[in-house]
């Protein structure tokens, strides 16, 4: 075997392994916490903001960086909102004496 690995193949490997990890971790989530699960996964998928930051980053402002800036704002709503609302909900799931 010669040559370098195509990044797409590498991505696919990561993808398949991550789906397996997700599958096993999610089945362990207690049904009582399914709503917080949805809000926290929402916040986590907003890590797409990383792509948005790259898009908004170029020194020269053009169509792409404006799109990126808008995407940063949208994803930031979710990052902050998702984690905070999850925390708010989880605060309620406390054992009371």
């Amino acid at each position: 075997m010669t040559g370098t690995l195509d990044p797409t193949v590498l991505n696919l490997i990561i993808f398949v392994l991550a789906v397996f990890v997700g599958y096993h971790v999610i089945w362990n989530v207690t049904p009582a916490l399914h709503t917080p699960l949805m809000s926290v996964t929402n916040a986590i998928s907003s890590v797409i903001i990383v792509g948005a930051v790259l898009a908004a980053g170029p020194a020269q402002i053009d169509f792409g960086s404006l799109m990126g800036t808008a995407a940063v704002a949208l994803a930031a709503v979710n990052v902050a909102g998702g984690f905070l609302v999850t925390r708010r909900m989880l605060e309620m799931f406390k054992k009371k004496k």
Partner: protein, 468 residues
Amino acid sequence: MSANLVALWYLVASVCFILALKGLSSPETARRGNAFGIAGMAIALLVTCAVVAKAGRLDLVLLAMLAGGLIGALAANKVQMTQMPETVAAMHSLVGLAAVLIAFAVVNNPVSFGLQAQIPTGNKLELFIGTFVGAITFSGSIIAFGKLAGLGKSFRLFSSAPVVFPGQHWLNLGLALVMVGFGVAFFLSPDKAWTPFIVMTAIAFALGVLIIIPIGGADMPVVISMLNSYSGWAAAGIGFSLNNSMLIVAGSLVGSSGAILSYIMCKAMNRSFISVILGGFGAAEGSAAQGGADKTVRSGAADDAAFLMSNAESVIIVPGYGLAVARAQHAVKEMAEKLREKGVNVRYAIHPVAGRMPGHMNVLLAEAEVPYDQVFEMEDINGEFGTTDVVLVLGANDVVNPLAYEKGSAIYGMPVLDAHKARTVLVNKRSMASGYAGLDNPLFYLDKTMMVFGDAKKVVEEIVKALH
């Protein structure tokens, strides 16, 4: 920072995200899990900003982040727990739209993402997938949001009843094929192919609307989980096209999470995912329930219900969507406390599809400060109904319908809470209208059943008064 160092930091962030989900396996570890999630996100953002700061400008980024973050934080603090389903739907739509915008930026200037000016074909394919999934997530979530927020009166597409028309599924299929066709055109064209890309995105937006409108209100737990899943796949797709492993990992975690939740919800309704997605269920509402007209129900007042429960040894409360609509959770908790003071063993039984999203009832009860160890999932408590004195059904219907045990009924095989096995059954409903499945419920006509008509909150408050 070298590319390797960046990738390693992204790996740390990915592990944090996995730990965030792992924490949710129990309420004790869940808060720590959320802290991991926040840490992972902070790492991801700091590292990326450091990369951008070296080569480009950060002012726009920081401004947008501040504005978005502020809006998100305010919304997170203000939102009511009864509004969680539509809030989550709104959040899905934002992820979807962000994915589409990023894809446009990638097509416009691949170099700023570290790709070659001529986007490699592999990344192009993934870009196409990430974009249309993101677009469908966006418009589909907007419709889901409208349905969940009850905006059907002001805009027909938001109606919680299914919106169906002849040839609907063929239209959707045709549009999907055309969309894929334009995607292939984008994939095959040598340079920036804006036209097929834009047409494809536009069709995907339309498809998102068309796919969700025929799905009725009570199937929303499946829809919202499905859109959750889509938002994850969209993020993974963007991760693929940017060769960003962290995005792929985070997206896959979210994608599989949503897929598993959809599966759990479908199983709890004994319906196939396909039949839920094709929609139209419950459109014939009312026609099937005619048989109940000549049967008689026994109805009683809140005082009678209070008397029955205070003399019981054990009570199981079955909450449903009606409880959420009436915002009765605090009143219910007060009632349960009073009963407990009298020595009654009060527990709650939660059906997986009670409410409008997975875990909806658990969050409402938690908000009312009901200790979670009094709240039981269906499989844990279903065996206990036979030895229970009183069951109080609050605004639930299909999930306690014993017809599920009768061959040939529309809901045959659906797992239900065995409320009919208790010694006495109290049912609070606003009227005798049938449930979502359009079925009559034999539980209401049993000799041991007493109906207490009225708004859940008012009825429970009256019971509390009668309990002293």
